[in-house]
Symmetry: D2
Subunit: 148 residues, 4 copies
């Protein structure tokens, strides 16, 4: 805990990487809001494409947000490894999110040589009393991780 | 097991419901391929928007496919309840899917009055030796389920 | 967040309930160490029965600890509902725990009328740099919850 | 699928391994009932120690049964690797199990070099209409897997 946290990529570097490598995420208007080596916050704009019947944000939108936040946190800590892959995602949907902006807070639970396990809370700008969803993700880190 | 399985919505009814209620899923070209009361198969076209670096299908695409297949299976069994919501999704990514068509096979593990738990295998048309991902989902069924 | 947190059972009441209702947990020497309405800490003694080959604590021991901590947190908030049941548990094992005492910190992610979702970190007294395991659990709350 | 399935340990070898390496599981009366290379069935006797208030089988008992069945399936396929460890377990509890004998059916979803993902259905001898619980587990396989 008191050890120095690595920052291998800055917020602008993460944002540039995101736009270049994941053009298909463009409709979500993802924005890396902050990263201090331990916590990465990723914002998400909500438009028609992210809504579900009843005017709530779709589950897949929140899953994509969680997945992306975890991925960027990992890259921020180990550098731009485009080939790290999700092996497990578990998500609980807690509260109905209003159709407004959201953000995800990702933290590392454990980073080993081959696996990284992360915790992601998803928040709505309109809901004050806690996360609207909570996810835990595992990423596999490829052996030759200096490739990209 | 030997009891008669309910079919509350036919394949064309499920397809119509899907297109009407989830216009934002249109880019995935989802198609209800079969439903016999127990197993629902949902196909998914793969285009640029579903790809990730390395030419593989993105995790969020598979999560959305699993979520949608489970939802349609539930509706097929209980009728068009637009407000049933996912409460938990757990997914394991098993094999790298090639950038070709995929399908999801959804089965009911348990359908209670308020919760339905489903199992979804995700397959690639290019991978023969087993699913490329496997998910388990829980949906909460709202009390007034005859609304929609 | 700023609302007053309910404490429906005190630490001694929770401990008494635990011993009376779960006599089969006796080998784990579980001890409710603290509960302030938001965070419940449950300690666990480790003996021969909790070990695995290699001198590490068994997975099932940590699962039982997580399950019990979540259950006691829920009861602490809503009162002694012996019939609340786990519907989902997801656990990630992060670090090898030494064969010494452990504790679980349980927090409520969302408590609805019928479902409660909780987050549990599991710590080893010998491991300083983070949890050895992390779990998320859902409990179903029976309708007549004032029964017990 | 049509490839020959490996059987690295027979049912009696698996049973002997279980009794020797996991003496603390003795109260569960675990019995390897069958293993054909693809499906491993593990039986479990239910006594006072496995019960919960209300006369049902405890969640931790079912988690331990799932964990053990998955472990034995993996060993049956790769040989006696005592140090393979669970990294993730996700379990859904589906039906109330009566206090009678249970069994777990474990199948491999994907076995890679470093990770194995397995699917486990848990059945009660008294419940005919489907599993009482369903789990998905990931095991990490240590590099020097021929050690034991």
């Amino acid at each position: 805990m008191p050890t120095l946290l690595p920052v291998m990529m800055t917020v602008p570097e993460l944002q540039t990487f995101l736009l270049r490598e994941f053009p298909q995420m463009a409709p979500m208007n993802l924005q890396v809001q902050s990263f201090d080596g331990a916590l990465l916050r990723l914002g998400c704009g909500i438009g028609e494409a992210q809504l579900r019947p009843g005017g709530t944000v779709s589950g897949p939108t929140m899953m994509a947000l969680a997945d992306c936040a975890a991925y960027l946190l990992l890259l921020g800590q180990i550098g731009p490894v485009a080939l790290a892959v999700t092996t497990n995602l578990n998500i609980n949907f807690l509260r109905k999110p209003e159709p407004v902006g959201m953000y995800a807070d990702a933290r590392m639970l454990k980073r080993g040589k081959t696996l990284a396990i992360m915790d992601v809370g998803i928040f709505s700008e309109a809901v004050q009393d806690g996360p609207v969803a909570h996810a835990t993700l595992t990423y596999a880190i490829p052996p030759a991780r200096n490739a990209a």
